[in-house]
Subunit: 400 residues, 2 copies
């Protein structure tokens, strides 16, 4: 993650791809006769039902007129363990498994994510814990428990408290009592909970100083760490939004909708609101499917605009653009080791296809963000052939 | 499967357990104040939303007054690849993965299943294929294709046709043409399709005889094989229903609902209809949670009626009942190799607990099917303490 923090803002462009858990029957209802608002409403229902489970990111740097360098990252993302449902369409599950996707790995190691509004609620909840009314009516048994705990803590401090102290398993109520004890008598001890529900031990850490400012900054840091962890994968999306680098996708409308709904905010009520929000976040969007379909010189057409076909066809001329994949430390592989339909691999193909297309269509790399022909022109799979995010209103787009 | 066909009807009793993909938030709505009809409606909504993904079956045979033998089977079941959604609650997914369940294995190797009504529709569809109107308007290109195909088939027959012949990839229309050619000119050749949609080759098999009766019985056999494969796991449930052996579960109401809805028929409109249907199918149901909660001698109560706790507590007296697990050929493991929350393992624990409880409560094994105290008394998790399937109507059950 820290690697990306330095990489992304320096990038010439990034390419993205997502894998999601399905489109389902509802996708068949998207019609050639829909206007953009109708299409948006239909897609929104689909996007809300399914999840994004893999996010691929390839960071491209132009080194010279015909040389680029690229680093590729694949992230598994899985909803946090709240009481929500995870919906997978059966054909999608079978398709992904055939393409070596692992649902076991997803559930075991997938990064959680938290929308911006959820983060605000989470911060408020953390503040509230500190403001809990002190318990005053303490039973004799609990008083004995607190006395014993005090003795253990004092003993631990006497011995230097160099290592964290792990308490016995405590009920939620007893954890609350210990928090209260610490606030009242040991402000220089930080307590960390290992689980939120049921019985669990607390981990006690001696902050190492009695000074108010040091204690406060230690606690603030710990709180931020906890929040960062909960935000999880959304940090990557925040990073992309902050850097405002060109974002390249292939047939990217669904990717954008899934990213918005699952990592950022619930999708807005209308298409026009979505359009303005997505451009606020990512002002430079480029769709290679659009370029391949509509901008390529008709005198030398491409055989197919399917991503893999494009990749193979354009790669045949390696003398034109040279792209070097380099390992990242966190993701120790180059895309060549992966396979199509891995989001990282597909983002790498997309970014490579884009580089080749730029060369072929004489789009200089340094003018990408201002290149009107390709800027924010998003391909539409059926019906409207593409979506001009700059159009006056949603009715102003073209129809097949 | 064929192993079960001979095992199940001979069994003294079978124990079952299922793993399903969730209960979700809706389960919290099941209330202590619900009558049985209300509870049924709430549970039905839950059961329709989620899926059964593992079915455990342990077949017990009483060898003597205090000796039993047991074989355990674990089946993964996954919906067939139609355009349906597979819903998993996130906490359930995490829980199952922690207990070594593999979703990858489920999707890759899970047995499909087909409800009885779906089987009827499937049979009708297969008959229809044979009754398709012959194509008469055949293009020149297709005529050439048919001529070439004929030549290939004749050549294959000339050479003895001992091995199946695999054609090139054919479009659905061309497959239809080949079927037509075979019906008209080669009735003694059986063609098998490898996929139903898109392009795929046909596998041709020479039946080995020109005699009408042999050809017809060959074709009938092939058709039945195809139907059997589509029925898939439901065969096991059919087998249980046919054998009418006592079926033992632990806290088994949800198991019964999931089995009914997913493997057999959509759940009936009302609880009373469900009750009569389930007893038609499985006239001898026994719930070990009910026995442990309500029939155990109050002078020597059990410490807990949670399945694992019961199993550990009752196993402490191995001199009372001896249960020998034997390997089955298809499932080459004994339950000891598995873990709790594997459906096979849990069915084995359930059946073992039942044997111990019978001994403890002086229920002779040979009177099980007529033992009124335990027959069709199903435990209820909250609210009503148990469900008497023999009660006059759904209002006649007890309340806490």
């Amino acid at each position: 993650m820290s690697e990306l923090t330095s990489l992304v803002p320096e990038a010439s462009y990034v390419a993205i791809d997502t894998e999601f858990t399905g489109l389902g029957k509802r996708y068949e209802a998207v019609s050639i006769f829909d206007n953009m608002e109708q299409r948006y409403q239909k897609l929104k229902t689909i996007v809300q039902r399914y999840s994004v489970i893999q996010f691929g990111l390839s960071v491209f740097n132009v080194l010279g007129e015909d040389r680029l360098e690229c680093q590729t990252f694949t992230f598994y993302t899985f909803p946090s363990a709240a009481n929500v449902d995870f919906v997978v369409s059966v054909p999608t599950a079978t398709f992904l498994i055939r393409n070596q996707f692992s649902f076991d790995k997803l559930i075991q190691t997938g990064l959680h994510y938290m929308k911006r509004k959820e983060e605000i609620a989470f911060r408020e909840k953390m503040d509230k814990v500190e403001e809990l009314e002190p318990v005053t009516d303490i039973s004799e048994k609990d008083t004995q428990f607190l006395e014993a705990t005090k003795a253990i803590i004092d003993d631990w401090i006497d011995k230097g408290a160099t290592n964290p102290h792990i308490t016995q398993e405590l009920s939620p109520f007893r954890r609350r009592l210990v928090y209260q004890l610490l606030r009242e008598s040991y402000p220089f001890i930080w307590a960390e909970n290992t689980r939120n529900a049921g019985n669990s031990p607390l981990i006690l850490i001696h902050i190492g100083s009695n000074e108010e400012t040091i204690i406060q900054s230690f606690k603030q840091k710990k709180k931020e760490e906890k929040i960062e962890k909960a935000i999880g994968f959304r940090k990557v999306i925040d990073l992309l939004a902050l850097a405002k680098v060109p974002i390249v996708g292939h047939n990217m409308l669904l990717d954008l909708l899934f990213i918005y709904e699952h990592y950022l905010e619930p999708l807005p009520a209308t298409y026009l609101e979505f359009r303005s929000s997505i451009l606020d976040l990512f002002p430079v969007l480029i769709d290679t499917k659009y370029i391949a379909e509509f901008l390529v010189d008709p005198a030398a057409p491409l055989q197919s605009t399917v991503l893999q076909d494009l990749f193979v066809e354009l790669k045949r001329y390696p003398e034109v653009v040279k792209i070097k994949s380099i390992n990242s430390t966190a993701h120790p592989y180059t895309p060549e080791k992966l396979r199509p339909h891995n989001a990282g691999y597909d983002s790498w193909m997309t970014g490579s296809v884009f580089a080749h297309l730029c060369h072929r269509e004489a789009i200089p790399f340094d003018t990408i963000p201002t290149e009107k022909r390709i800027l924010n022109q998003i391909y539409l799979t059926t019906g409207q052939t593409h979506l001009n995010l700059h159009a006056e209103d949603s009715e102003a787009v073209f129809y097949l």
